[in-house]
């Protein structure tokens, strides 16, 4: 069998690389050929010296890679809760009907493959889709309809975010992204390199009270201190841009609006921990943010703000963009490392922790996009200024992503301490209709009822009422929403995204969705089954995905027990 010589040309640039190049190679082959064939795998195996079985296993792990032929155009419509409220199921159904295929199939003429997708992080432009045309860059499509999916694809969207008091967001942006000329030439990094020792940068970040914005809320300065202090000549900074929590899109907006803010934050982190190598791992569903970041890195390197001898100093930094391929689990930091290393994205056992044994086994500081974006202003204005915003336990400005039944879905920068009620009524345009429930913290978060929304939006207040800030997602459902349908979609999400490594999560997410699918006519004892599943996943799973995969369901059992009874109220 001969293969299009294109593949050799395509792979030539990877000569001499090893397994770590596997995901980039698979992306190139997938992009050019629409799928990855046994012959491709054979070539890649020799090129990177990775067993063919391992490559096959990696392809099967990531949803955006295919080992079966696909259509010249692939359309993936998001069917998670927010897009479902906006009619995603209907759009998907109409598209399949028009093309005369079932979901997951390819048209006879080989032109289209249609699939559903987990949350694409475009909840402010629901319903959304991710589209791929053979040989072209992927496009994230906002506000899709049947016609928009069949016409020439248009991935243009922009919504201003922030207000006069914003630090992270910039309301004056008329069109994304902010270029270097508007952003400025990395003044905080300049100050750090010229006047401040790395230890002092860490001390300032520690003193600011900044805690991680990705969901785990770990003190950022402490993480950097551990990484800097770890005994190794090779260290890494990794920016976790694998934002995939349903209802969460703040990191996407930050990257699309303010790429240089993130790059300067990464540079400060690298300077602080002492490394010249940083990697941004960005989810494969974010093609626009990926292109914007790539262009910003080039712009900054050309201006001498990144690369060798930054600002004439002996500090150098190479920032590499790595694209995920459809796996929520890779937002878990150790699974992310595995993905960068060219493996299936399985979370590792901890300890050892990333600060001593991270990417390629080296000390690694891994931080969320929003966390890193907070750093330049801390260095610029000082830790006291940062600490002065918000509360003692939740210092600094915080982004939230709000979606569902509100007047203006989008990303908002809030001062922690305002109540959820104030936020809903006064900030994001009010609840449309009568509030039924808020899912706070994303798919791994908890439900709040209308009487619960006087809670203050801080890490500590939300924790005290058994909820979580999580990734900052706020999904709002009015009285027309079928909460059972929402629960089914959450169940499907976790069933689809469990990596399958540990038994509690692999089996628990499956058993959970089986029960949720029959929620309209539940069996006796289903609520108890769900509690046993949820508690077992929470207490016995390996990683954060498993620990939280039953949280929303268990909170629904507590807040809306009638949903789990055979004669419960039927909605919609």
């Amino acid at each position: 069998m001969t293969i299009d010589s294109g593949v050799d040309t395509l792979l030539a640039k990877y000569q001499g690389r090893g397994r770590e190049a596997l995901l980039p190679v698979l992306w190139d082959v997938q992009g050019a050929f629409g799928s990855i064939s046994p012959e491709h795998v054979h070539r890649i195996s020799h090129l990177l010296r990775v067993p063919e079985a391992d490559i096959f296993g990696v392809i099967g792990f990531y949803s955006l890679f295919h080992d079966e032929p696909t259509g010249r155009r692939i359309v993936r419509v998001c069917t998670d809760p927010t897009c479902a409220l906006a009619g995603a199921d209907e759009v998907l159904h109409e598209l399949c009907e028009r093309l005369d295929i079932r979901e997951g199939q390819m048209t006879l003429d080989g032109e289209y493959t249609v699939e559903h997708s987990p949350c694409l992080g475009l909840c402010d432009f629901a319903p959304a889709a991710l589209a791929s045309a053979r040989g072209e860059a992927d496009v994230a499509l906002p506000n899709v309809s049947l016609n928009r999916l069949l016409d020439e694809w248009n991935g243009d969207y922009f919504q201003p975010a922030g207000d006069r008091s914003s630090v992270l967001l910039k309301p004056t942006l008329k069109d994304a992204p902010e270029m270097l000329v508007e952003y400025g030439d990395y003044q905080s990094l300049r100050r750090a390199i010229q006047d401040v020792r790395p230890e002092t940068v860490i001390a300032e970040v520690e003193a600011s009270g900044l805690i991680g914005r990705g969901g785990a809320a770990f003190p950022t300065g402490l993480k950097w201190k551990f990484t800097r202090g770890a005994p190794s000549d090779i260290k890494y900074v990794v920016c976790n841009a694998d934002e995939s929590e349903p209802g969460t899109f703040k990191d996407r907006v930050l990257m699309e609006h303010r790429p240089h803010l993130l790059l300067e934050g990464i540079a400060l982190a690298a300077y602080a921990v002492g490394t010249d190598k940083a990697i941004v791992f960005i989810r494969g569903e974010y093609p626009k943010a990926t292109a914007i970041l790539a262009a910003a890195i080039q712009e900054a390197e050309a201006a001498g703000l990144l690369g060798d001898a930054i600002m004439g100093s002996d500090f150098a930094l190479d920032i590499e963009l790595r694209r995920g391929a459809g796996a929520y689990i890779c937002g878990e930091e150790t699974a992310l490392f595995e993905a960068v290393e060219g493996k299936r994205g399985f979370p590792r056992m901890k300890p050892p922790y990333p600060t001593t044994f991270g990417l390629f086994g080296q000390p690694t500081a891994v931080n969320n996009v929003e966390t890193l974006c907070a750093v330049p202003s801390i260095i610029d204005r000082g830790p006291d200024w940062f600490k002065g915003i918000g509360t003692d336990g939740s210092a600094g400005p915080k982004l939230v992503s709000v979606s569902g039944h509100v007047g203006q879905p989008g990303v908002y920068e809030i001062e922690p301490g305002i109540t959820l009620r104030h936020f809903l009524d006064q900030v994001c345009g009010g609840v449309i209709g009568e509030l039924q429930a808020v899912l706070m913290g994303g798919a791994a978060g908890t439900f709040l009822k209308p009487e619960d929304i006087d809670v203050r939006l801080t890490f500590e207040d939300l924790r005290a009422v058994g909820s979580t800030f999580g990734s900052g997602a706020i999904m709002v459902f009015n009285q027309t929403t079928d909460l059972r349908d929402v629960l089914k979609r959450l169940g499907r999400f976790f069933q689809h995204e469990s990596c399958g490594k540990c038994f509690p999560c692999q089996l628990g997410t499956q058993r959970q969705v089986e029960i949720l699918e029959r929620l309209d006519a539940p069996n006796a004892g289903d609520a108890e089954r769900l509690m046993d599943i949820g508690l077992t996943m929470t207490e016995a799973s390996i990683c954060g995905l498993g620990h939280t995969a039953g949280i929303a369901v268990m909170s629904a059992i507590e807040k809306f027990p009638e949903l789990f009874q055979a004669n419960g109220i039927q909605h919609g």
């Binding site: 299936r344 689809h496 469990s498 399958g500 038994f503 509690p504 058993r511 089986e514």
Partner: protein
């Protein structure tokens, strides 16, 4: 214990008993030393522990999450309960969920655990059993993945834990995961060297020697000889084109 151990040993409480163990010992080591039985499924002394079946979880200091005894190291002055209500709930629920996905008929050790933890074998009605067709593609062993619990041992011994053959991988993700060759090619087309180590470490009936399987099927001597020697190339010239 004698006091000269102090430098290299630590003390902890295990099910109410104070014990002293070597520094670096796992909780499973400690339990063994104390004569306490902790069930394991994926753990095998010949393979790298991945702590993935979680049947060995124990309660350390009433922490937020339970700890896998096979990999978690003993912490000085900790208080460990190897079998309390939380531990039992997790073990029982894992067994009930596993039984709903996998045919455990030929996994006697797991059957014992099901009895010990009073796991209800019908706890999850209408669950999706993982369905696989039995694979009989070589003269040496059969693969019946309906009996596979995904302990990973076979994949591990085929790779860096023993043979470095890399014939096996994990296919798909989550509950849909299965052990497979690249693109599901037959074992004879794969790099498999038929070392048999995968069969040796399988804790269920998922991997079974062909002869054993044949005996179960009631094969006679002639049939057995024929079916377990197919494909052998005693004289390569003559078998060409087969």
């Amino acid at each position: 214990m004698v006091s000269n151990m102090a430098e290299d040993s630590i003390k902890l409480s295990l099910d109410g008993e104070d014990i002293e163990v070597a520094r670096g010992a796992t909780l499973l080591d400690a339990a063994e030393q104390a004569g306490i039985d902790i069930p394991v499924i994926c753990y095998h002394e010949a393979t790298s522990p991945n702590g993935l079946c979680r049947i060995c979880v124990v309660d350390v200091d009433g922490g937020r999450v339970l700890q896998p005894a096979c990999v978690a190291e003993c912490q000085a002055d900790s208080k460990v309960e190897t079998r309390n209500e939380r531990v039992e709930r997790s073990r029982r629920t894992i067994l009930e969920m596993l039984n709903a996905s996998v045919n455990l008929a030929e996994a006697p050790e797991i059957q014992e655990m099901i009895a010990d933890y009073a796991a209800d074998e019908a706890r999850f009605p209408d669950a999706n059993l993982r369905e696989h067709t039995l694979i009989d593609d070589n003269p040496f062993y059969i693969r019946d993945y309906e009996q596979c619990v995904l302990c990973w041992r076979c994949v591990q011994v085929c790779a860096e834990d023993a043979q470095f053959t890399f014939a096996l991988t994990l296919k798909n993700r989550g509950h849909d995961t299965s052990v497979a060759t690249a693109f599901d090619i037959s074992m004879t087309e794969s790099p498999c060297v038929f070392c048999g180590q995968c069969v040796g470490v399988c804790p269920t009936g998922a991997l079974k020697p062909k002869v054993q399987w044949g005996l179960e099927q009631g094969w006679g001597a002639d049939e057995m000889r024929q079916k377990t020697r197919r494909g052998r190339k005693r004289n390569p010239e003559k078998t060409d084109g087969e």
